[in-house]
């Protein structure tokens, strides 16, 4: 069953086309990695899934609900999809605890106790229970990103979107974030991840999508993507040789 279905999505900024006829899907429990050179539209594509970026053509169906339909209650839909950003985007004026509970209380209407219990459960899972009373600015980048993942999980999402979750991190902090993501994948979370971490893709991805100039160029099983390099497009081979060279 498809959890996220992207159907012929196109998007323009004025005259400039950023997405061209993108079609793919993410099944329940599947982990799909989206890669490609910068400016290829992968971040834009993932942001169309929860309507942070509007699109002009095509449609996206998330768990049976159309994202493009003007009648769709977008806040309600977004509350069911977790998202993790490149720059963490924790709320800097709120403590870690408040970051974890504010949407649970204000959006889902949970009681303070319930939100707190849930928040602490996930904070513990990402190994940061001791930081509960600090503010985001007092944590390292890797810690902030783990809190951001916990914040998204506390909403009990049906799927998680990751938009380059490790590219703003110092190298020594990349793994602590990837470890949390690997664990999530093993637990069966439906995940769509924009990332250049090919080690992560090899380890947990079911499928790999390669984008270039706003279009989906490759969309295949992980084994096929990494195992049968000769069958890949020219652009994908170039890209892979660049990021796998070292």
């Amino acid at each position: 069953m498809s959890m996220i279905e992207i159907k012929n999505v196109s998007k323009w900024y004025g005259d400039f086309q950023v997405l061209t006829d993108c079609t793919t899907d993410v099944k329940k429990g599947e982990v799909v990695v989206v890669c490609g050179p910068s400016g290829s539209g992968k971040s834009t594509l993932i942001k169309t899934v929860n309507a942070l970026e509007p699109f002009q053509k095509g449609d996206i169906i998330v768990d049976g609900i159309s994202v493009g339909d003007p009648k769709t209650d977008l806040p309600k839909l977004r509350a069911r999809i977790g998202m993790v950003f490149q720059n963490f985007e924790l709320f800097p004026h709120l403590s870690i605890t408040e970051n974890l509970t504010i949407a649970q209380q204000r959006v889902l209407g949970r009681s303070k106790d319930e939100a707190m219990q849930k928040g602490m459960h996930y904070l513990d899972r990402v190994g940061l229970k001791a930081q509960a009373n600090k503010f985001p600015g007092q944590l390292s980048g890797g810690q902030q990103q783990r809190v951001a993942i916990a914040r998204a999980l506390a909403m009990d999402p049906i799927a998680m979107l990751f938009d380059e979750p490790t590219s703003a991190l110092d190298p020594e902090m990349v793994n602590e974030v990837l470890d949390v993501m690997v664990e999530l994948a093993h637990e069966g979370m439906t995940m769509m991840c924009v990332t250049h971490e090919m080690g992560f893709a090899r380890k947990v991805a079911n499928r790999v999508i390669f984008m270039d100039r706003g279009a989906i160029v490759e969309d295949c099983e992980k084994e096929e993507f990494f195992g049968n390099i000769d069958a890949r497009s020219e652009r994908a081979r170039q890209f892979l040789s660049k990021i796998l060279a070292h």
């Binding site: 942001k47 942070l52 309600k76 950003f85 720059n87 709320f91 004026h93 204000r106 998204a152």
Partner: protein
């Protein structure tokens, strides 16, 4: 120079100062509230709303405050009369307050707008991503951060407003300056009372301004 009558006059000067501060606090609260609404309107996607807010701001920033005060003094009772169909007595204080709120809102609007725009787009995306509506995202995430950043500018504008409240003498309100003037005339020490009033304005404004500068340094870190 003979300052001998100032001490015995302090109670009546204090009455004037109370009116000044009362007007100031209410005008600041109303001005920031209306200014915030204008800022949100100005940044909205609706061309009508943003056009209206822009015209409002440009208009009030292009006319003298004294004009607004005198105009509202005459206009507010007339407008109320026109709406309700009966004569409503509006005191000078109320009409001045309305004038200050509407005038200052234009300035506060620009400060609030700059404050909101200084918050990264990622923050509003993050707020939306956890399911918040526009109004929740603004109230819970964006405005609290924006107000923290713009506190020094808001206070600076408030100090200017504190000095501008003295313009209410035009419609006969007894604020601090007017009280000092009247008292000085009665006591035959006009110069001394005005010098004293000037010193009081200076100490309050300069003191507050220095505090704001220190606060600015602390917030900047």
């Amino acid at each position: 120079m003979d300052f001998s009558q100032i001490i015995p006059s302090l109670p009546s000067l204090w009455d004037g100062m109370k009116l000044t501060l009362q007007l100031l606090l209410l005008a600041v609260a109303g001005g920031i509230a209306l200014g915030t609404v204008l800022a949100l309107a100005r940044m909205s996607n609706s061309a009508l709303l943003s056009g209206f807010a822009k015209a409002y701001v440009n208009y009030f920033r292009s006319i003298p405050l004294l004009l607004v005060i005198t105009w509202f003094y005459l206009a507010v009772p007339m407008i109320l009369n026109w709406i309700t169909g009966e004569f409503v007595a509006v005191g000078a204080f109320t009409s001045c307050l309305v004038a200050f709120v509407m005038f200052e809102a234009a300035y506060y609007c620009e400060i609030v707008r700059a404050g909101i725009q200084s918050i990264s787009k990622g923050q509003i995306n993050a707020a939306y991503a956890v399911g918040m509506t526009y109004s929740q995202a603004m109230r819970l995430i964006i405005l609290p951060q924006a107000f923290r950043k713009m506190t020094p500018l808001l206070l600076q504008q408030t100090i200017i407003l504190f000095q501008d409240t003295s313009l209410v003498y035009a419609v006969g309100l007894i604020d601090f300056l007017n009280a000092a003037r009247a008292r000085g005339d009665i006591m035959g020490q006009s110069h001394e009372f005005l010098i004293f009033a000037g010193a009081v304005y200076f100490v309050i404004s300069f003191g507050a301004s220095s505090l704001v500068k220190r606060l600015q340094k602390r917030l900047a870190v």
